[in-house]
Symmetry: C2
Subunit: 217 residues, 2 copies
């Protein structure tokens, strides 16, 4: 494409099987395209992410994007994975606490904050923006990785005998579904007022803690 620095021919006169300079360049290009798509998405929402718009921003024909990602779904998948990384970082930024109740409360708050600060990513990941795309193995695993803190905390609670359930995933999903339900009803406009939604969310977190971690409160 246009401003493509000519391959500094890694040249490797004879080496045959390694990611060629060309390929590395393609990888870089892919990252740039994802970044362009992400910036459009965060500024104008997921529905504004069209192949043409991304191509225009990259000053390249749309065909390039199809060559690199196969389809719009391929690009959506990368945005999905990007969102998983961001969510994971969000959870990692929450300081661990010995008190599982408080830790869980903070993680819940972080999940809410993520849905507010990265609404477009949230909609792509869990809200069905880009209806093209349904999660498969790789993306589901990325979510699991992102939810790792939740899984860890629940696993600990089970080990400590605080929870009668034996399957941590099951418990995490129960929590996740409740938090997601509130957020999604809010984002969908069914609970319009944000403060009402947040109140609902906080009550849910409290109830969940009360249900699963029957320590104090």
């Amino acid at each position: 494409m246009h401003n493509s620095s000519e391959m500094p021919s890694i040249d490797g006169r004879k080496v045959t099987t390694y990611p060629s300079a060309k390929l590395q360049h393609t990888e870089m290009l892919k990252l740039n395209i994802i970044e362009a798509a992400a910036s459009i998405m965060q500024e104008h929402g997921p529905e504004a992410v069209t192949i043409r718009r991304v191509a225009e921003k990259m000053e390249c024909p749309t065909k390039i994007i199809y060559n690199l990602f196969g389809s719009k779904e391929g690009l959506a998948k990368r945005l999905f994975l990007e969102g998983c990384k961001l969510l994971s970082l969000t959870f990692q930024a929450v300081p661990e606490q010995a008190d599982l109740t408080l830790y869980l409360r903070d993680l819940g708050q972080a999940y809410w904050d993520f849905s507010r600060n990265y609404t477009s990513y949230y909609m792509v990941m869990f809200g069905g923006a880009f209806s093209e795309f349904k999660p498969e193995e790789e993306t589901l695993q990325a979510i699991n990785t992102a939810l790792q803190q939740f899984i860890t905390i629940i696993t600990q609670a089970i080990k400590q005998g605080l929870i009668s359930e034996t399957d941590p995933i099951h418990v995490v999903n129960l929590i996740w579904a409740t938090l997601h339900g509130t957020i999604h009803l809010h984002l969908g406009g069914h609970i319009q007022d944000e403060r009402t939604a947040k109140l609902l969310y906080d009550t849910s977190v409290t109830n969940l803690i009360h249900t699963f971690l029957r320590s104090d409160n």
Copy 2:
């Protein structure tokens, strides 16, 4: 369309405002169009509902649909309201029970069944299919009407002193968010296996009952 219709000239002088035969015809036409859209939706999913496809089924030009509904969003809104009616009927079909715990359990099951039997409607109402459209006053009220049984049951429980919360809407939203969260994660492919999802759902219902109706169990 073939048989045209005319608005009752609003110039008032003689013709006072009452539904004319022509207007009734238009109303009938609207109902037919909604029915056509609904049948396409239930057979091929919400994304298959295009103005052209509906017009083709009605053997009329697309302009007619725009004249009657203004936009696709207008048609989507009618499908939304249709879904609210169906959900309302679903809840009404659940026999009342003196035992609020059992009644609530059955209503929860009915909500799950609705999401399975009318998945397309569910996606239009709560899943963000037809991203065009966001609920407003009228549609939000339709949902409230549909959730009337839930509101009634919680109001009763509050009166009986079973729930410390004072706002029934708040409690209903808490329940709704949890049920919706599980269903939506399932429909979104994040909890793929249906039996796993249902198990999650049933556990949630039990937990909700345990949280709010701390009678038996």
